[in-house]
Subunit: 269 residues, 2 copies
């Protein structure tokens, strides 16, 4: 199998995203390796050794995705027995011309601390944790968005992702069996109607997920899951709460759709 | 100010990472906009209108970062009054040649659900939540890593990030004032010594953070913060627990360093 390396003198997150996006266009398998924080000659030489070994082992040159712009370690990496792809390079000169500014390559800028957005994110994570799963219903004033939905429809991971990635304060509140007889927006959520965003999920997927947690229970029964999904969707429609179906969506897609539909501003860029 | 647009028929996360990495090389400010899920002609035309307005408003052509490969909406976007940057394009033909395979562009592949890694991540988030802050000390068998450190040194956001991004099960355990008189590894953590990873932080930064939460308390006093930091660092050294100082690091950098130092495998690629 062909090896793919994502390498950088920083976190290598940019190289990973770049490499994955490109390789995902090709219907074949790769062996993935990330090497972060190549900041010294020693580390660059160690990386070179790993890459060269992968090439010998695989019989075909490893693919190396990197973002070194001007760096003495770049030469070491470029001397590897591998095919190199640097996604910044083709764009730097055209952008310099367009902006009429010279690029100033500084390592660690993309995924390092930018004071303001950092504090936002930590605060948002704390907010998501203390306002998870209806555990605190007195602090919705502070929320940017309040996710609602039945148990296991994706509320908690989505709230945390909104906080960690975007610094958005997302509370979440679950509709449970007790609410179902006459499902309505609870009184403490009413003043925040405009912040509500609904998640729903296909009943069959919900049955499967709940069955994995509590097999043969009322909670995971087909009858219960179908009823809960039907009731919340009715509520969303009657109360004009925007909602999405999370069945086929990743956390990244759920949160990107929430941002698109609500127009919420991300604090981190 | 020049406008920068990150657009895609998917989440636009790849466009954002690509655009930010490039623009971070230039010492100037931009107005950032993300437009996700451009899946229809209507949405492409609406995006075009927003982009053209930004160009008129700013007096200079907006910068548009996108990853459309083969797509009918691409033509609409390419007809905008803007400068376009497509980071996949320069690399597709060389990679096709190297791999001797034709690229098969499929939208939504990079940040959509890959069944296996999706379940890992949700499970890991649940694990991080139930094993946060020492709230459960009976389930460390299942942990991939156990973060330790004083209160407010970055354990919780790092655990959640490891779970959400990489599907890694990270528990975390806080050393508090009660532990300080004779700081040692608690008995329930001893069997998992090899999973321990320490976080530390500069005392002054710790004072500032704690002061923001509980001003004028023993918890946030200079004396207390200095003592706690000194004691945990002594423990890490005596017990040979690998550790990093999080003071100047973002969550992305902390977790990338943890992966590098522990050699932990990420479940998501």
């Amino acid at each position: 199998m062909r090896s793919a390396f994502y390498i950088s003198d920083g976190t290598a997150i940019t190289s990973e995203v770049f490499g994955h996006a490109l390789l995902s266009l090709f219907p074949t398998e790769f062996e993935h390796h990330t090497i972060s924080f190549i900041e010294t000659t020693e580390k660059a030489l160690a990386a070179k050794e790993r890459i060269n070994k992968a090439t010998s082992r695989g019989g075909k040159p490893a693919l190396v995705f990197h973002t070194f712009v001007n760096n003495e370690n770049r030469e070491i990496i470029e001397s590897c027995d591998a095919v190199l792809y640097n996604f910044l390079e083709p764009f730097v000169a055209p952008l310099e011309k367009e902006l009429a500014i010279k690029a100033k390559p500084t390592t660690h800028r993309t995924h390092s601390i930018h004071e303001k957005s950092y504090d936002y994110r930590i605060e948002a994570v704390n907010y998501a944790l203390t306002n998870d799963d209806g555990s605190n219903v007195t602090n919705y004033e502070e929320a940017d968005v309040i996710l609602v939905g039945v148990s296991r429809s994706g509320k908690t991971p989505s709230s945390l992702y909104l906080a960690l990635q975007y610094g958005i304060k997302a509370a979440n509140y679950p509709f449970t069996d007790d609410d179902m007889e006459e499902l309505k927006i609870p009184s403490f959520l009413k003043p925040f109607h405009k912040k509500l965003f609904g998640l729903t999920i296909d009943a069959q997927r919900l049955i499967d997920i709940r069955d994995g947690r509590m097999a043969n229970s009322k909670y995971s029964s087909a009858r219960q899951c179908r009823m809960e999904v039907r009731e919340v969707e009715k509520l969303y429609k009657n109360e004009q709460i925007p909602f999405i179906n999370t069945t086929k969506l990743s956390v990244e897609e759920i949160t990107a759709k929430i941002l698109t539909e609500t127009g919420l501003q991300r604090y981190k860029y």
